[in-house]
Symmetry: C2
């Protein structure tokens, strides 16, 4: 047994914030039995992944070893932790374990693929544990920004590992379990080999604030409002939704939830018992007839998502409701980097309607769900593990977190996606590198990020596209002139003649001059035509477009 080892391998989430996917293994080298922690998604953008629907980790490595995979554990129900369960489950096939609320959400994801409820097994909180091969895994409650978030206590023959999941140190989180240092201390007291730890807020120098600290500010704001009040937050932040709803209720307003995700999360919370005293809500149909000063909407779309309720309201009308001068729109949220443009667009649309927009720029209406720098130090000390392995962060977060741990005397290292660490000894050792990447859900199919498909789309977006068709007869003579079609390009260039005419003229001249060898060889001819097209385009409009050439040869 001395050759058995304990390994850690992030396939997603380490080197980025999103698509969390962490493998642990125990056993002889290359025969380790495996468990997976989290299987999340990240979101596409126009810059790098236009037209893509969702981004998830490339799990090829794990799929090739699925016979060694014992189980999948989901720490909490955020999309970046549970979002890929439906899309990737069939490639892995292991049972999924989660606490009740998370399990409810995971089952919904599987149902979209027609997969059975039974795939997901509901587990109670620590001290209950799940046996998974050589692993014994328990869900250790911790506060975050969604109900029932949990760290994982992962017991192995090589020792205990604690994987924090996403967490903050909140002793009064409104919904769900509070941070309980005694519980965490008791789990850690007999020694912990490794703490795998959330790095998101390592750059935030002050201690985090409790979810309960913003209730009175929100109440005061809603109390003062004279028109309709609309508030948006992350739909999964059930505590916040409750705080907002209670503020509305106290101000004598009827509460209406808008947006599928918002209703889904509240429903799951009530079904699973994590939420028991949510204010009464009115259906949308009734909301329309309630005077605006007596109404408060809680809506999806805090990140400016184009299809969410907030964007629809900003566009003018949603579910028969239109905002107007004197109404108030509250972003009880932060804008995730990269989403600024979308959020600002909505703010300006509301401004045009005369709606007052309030956001968290003064720090009054939102708190983060992640542990800040001093909170991380507290967690390091509480668990007092032999080593601290930063996860859930971009490279800069992981690096800063490792430095922080080291400065407090803990052994630490940076392990980005694909870095396999051997945790068996007293310090982490890099024991391999695995090729990782991203899988795109594109329409209904999955494609690789490096397949060149999305790269081609980006090129068309940057350069435009020119199509050339040419028909040749059996003697390799052109039948008629080459034909060009432009897409995404200026119609007229510097010569003031239509670009398409310039192109066809230049190509005709080229064909007229081309030797027999070129005319006989499709590849050669295509290359030459592309070059000619690019030259003409460059001189006419200063761009080198993407070019597709179709040569049709008629046979007698």
């Amino acid at each position: 047994m001395s050759s058995d080892r304990l390994i850690y391998l992030p396939l997603g989430g380490a080197g980025e914030i999103g698509m969390n996917c962490y493998v642990f293994g125990y056993g002889p080298e290359d025969k380790e039995r495996l468990i997976l922690v989290d299987l999340g998604v990240t979101f596409p953008d126009m810059d790098g992944s236009p037209g893509v629907d969702l981004i998830m980790p490339d799990i090829s490595w794990l799929e090739q070893r699925k016979d060694r995979l014992e189980a999948i554990f989901i720490t909490h129900a955020h999309e970046d932790h549970v979002g890929a369960v439906g899309h990737l489950y069939e490639r892995l096939g292991a049972p999924v374990h989660a606490r009740a609320f998370t399990a409810n959400i995971a089952r919904g994801k599987l149902a979209e693929y027609g997969l059975s409820d039974k795939v997901v097994r509901t587990t109670s909180a620590w001290p209950e544990t799940v046996q998974a091969g050589p692993f014994s895994v328990g869900f250790l409650p911790i506060s975050h920004s969604i109900p029932e978030s949990s760290g994982l206590v992962i017991d192995t023959p090589a020792g205990r590992v604690i994987h924090t999941g996403d967490f903050k140190l909140d002793k009064s989180p409104i919904v769900g379990e509070a941070y309980d240092p005694d519980l965490w201390g008791s789990v850690a007291k007999d020694g912990v080999k490794a703490l795998i730890c959330d790095s998101t807020n390592v750059f935030t120098p002050v201690a985090g604030r409790s979810e309960s600290s913003i209730g009175s500010e929100i109440e005061a704001l809603v109390e003062e409002a004279s028109g309709m009040v609309v508030a948006t937050t992350f739909a999964s932040n059930v505590a916040r939704v409750k705080t907002l709803a209670e503020a509305g209720e106290r101000a004598g307003r009827s509460i209406c939830l808008m947006g599928r995700a918002m209703r889904r999360m509240i429903e799951a919370s009530i079904t699973t018992g994590v939420l028991s005293d949510f204010p009464k809500v009115v259906p949308v149909e009734d909301a329309r007839s309630i005077p605006r000063e007596n109404l408060m909407l809680l809506v999806t779309g805090s990140q400016g998502e184009r299809r969410a309720a907030s964007a629809q309201l900003a566009n003018g009308k949603y579910n028969g409701i239109t905002l107007k001068e004197g109404d108030l729109f509250l972003f009880s949220s932060k804008t995730i980097p990269g989403n600024e443009r979308g959020v600002i667009r909505i703010m300006n649309q509301f401004s045009q309607m005369g709606v007052d927009v309030v956001d968290d720029s003064a720090g009054r209406y939102h708190v983060s769900g992640h542990a800040n720098r001093p909170d991380l130090v507290e967690m390091h000390k509480l668990v007092h593990a032999e080593m601290v392995i930063p996860m859930h962060g971009e490279h800069r977060h992981l690096r800063e977190h490792a430095k922080l741990a080291q400065s407090n005397g803990y052994t630490s290292t940076i392990a980005v996606n694909g870095t396999m660490l051997d945790l068996t000894g007293h310090a982490p050792k890099v024991c391999g590198f695995v090729e990782t990447g991203r899988t795109y859900l594109d329409g209904s199919v999955k494609i690789g990020a490096m397949d060149g498909i999305v790269r081609d789309r980006i090129r068309m977006a940057l350069n435009g596209h020119i199509l050339v068709t040419l028909i040749l007869d059996e003697d390799n003579e052109a039948l008629g002139d080459p034909w060009c079609e432009l897409r995404g390009l200026a119609e007229t260039g510097t010569s003031n003649a239509p670009l398409v005419d310039c192109l066809e003229e230049d190509l005709s001249q080229f064909i007229g001059r081309a030797d027999r060898k070129t005319m006989m060889d499709d590849d050669k001819l295509e290359t030459a035509l592309k070059k000619a097209v690019r030259q003409t385009a460059q001189s006419e409009i200063g761009k080198k477009p993407e070019v597709t050439v179709v040569i049709s040869r008629l046979v007698a």
Copy 2:
């Protein structure tokens, strides 16, 4: 003369931050003599303007009235104020007036189009004035984040207008003139009709800080550094570049400027006399042989621009210099909303190299160049104009600024791009709407934002592209099968057969079934083929691509 009126018409910059372009007119209705204040650009992004090089205001309205245009005044040399002068000058043809430093930059822009130096006339600061038809215009020095920024004193027969340009209230701006309340007060003392006022920082509740307030923090940081120090800021912020260079010099480091814009701005500052005591700089060739602990680079690329020096250094090497573990990279800048992804990418690249990245998240290494809310109040009171017209802001900034002015007893209104205001009376009156928009520089040609060209590119990026070619003989019979080419689409869909085969098969079947009427009619046939392609693609890959159909008819 009683029918003469004073008008104000923003063509850019009011309803956005960027591409400033403000028209003032005086005279009989529709015969007003005109002046233009600023002619700037804004920058494209993948979301809305992929492949575009620059965005500038649509000046069609002004171009159609160029015979009435007396002059163009440029308040300062930021790209969003002067950047379109080269690209649009020939469509307007009026003399350009600016102070020496701004004129130097403007001449450079014109030279790129082969336009004469003489187009730009250098003007001294107030009390010098330029006579332009019924207008007398003077440049009133004010502090900002570039040398020689000026407000404009615009005297008209209907009264005095003050256009602030971009400004902050900085009494020790390091480079250039300090904010001089006595000077501004003296100009305003006999009454001002309208204050056209910068709105950028209306949401920042505390008074702005002086450029001189961050020198000691920067010095301390550089002093402590042990490896190479690299700092980036906006190249045009000459005061900041000087502060950074002096911090390096005091720490015994040689200073090297990297990036064309950085060198261009320092050169223009020295040439025009606005900067006289800049530390000695070493050329890049010499920098390579200087020990890293004795070197400080000042580089372009504070916004993560892909081609700038900072991005090149992050990619590994630039001008023979490579950063490494223990070096320090300072962002002495703020990230403009929308640029977060690019900046974060660079930060993570540096993190991977072991370089410590310091930014302004703690507010120590950057100050804004714009007046904050209390500063705006001070300016309103100092000028004490009959009306305050907010400019240089998105709608939300203009609205907040108008409310702020009103709350202090000033008449105000929101005038976004295209809104013509009559300022003749005691309150602004909307007297017309002009169609405005954006002109894209795309390669070497200018296209309209609404021409559909960029829309087509975005569609290709989102949906991919399928090309169909079909050859018909003189009897309208297909010669061979339809041919499909994909670009930016998955090769295989749900049926596991190549998508291109599925498409060609379905199209062949369609052709086989098509009636003679369809086969004879190109439009009908094209529409039908597009529909068939989209249906097959939707069922195979869940996407509806852009489709180009080329039908070639052979004639006998």
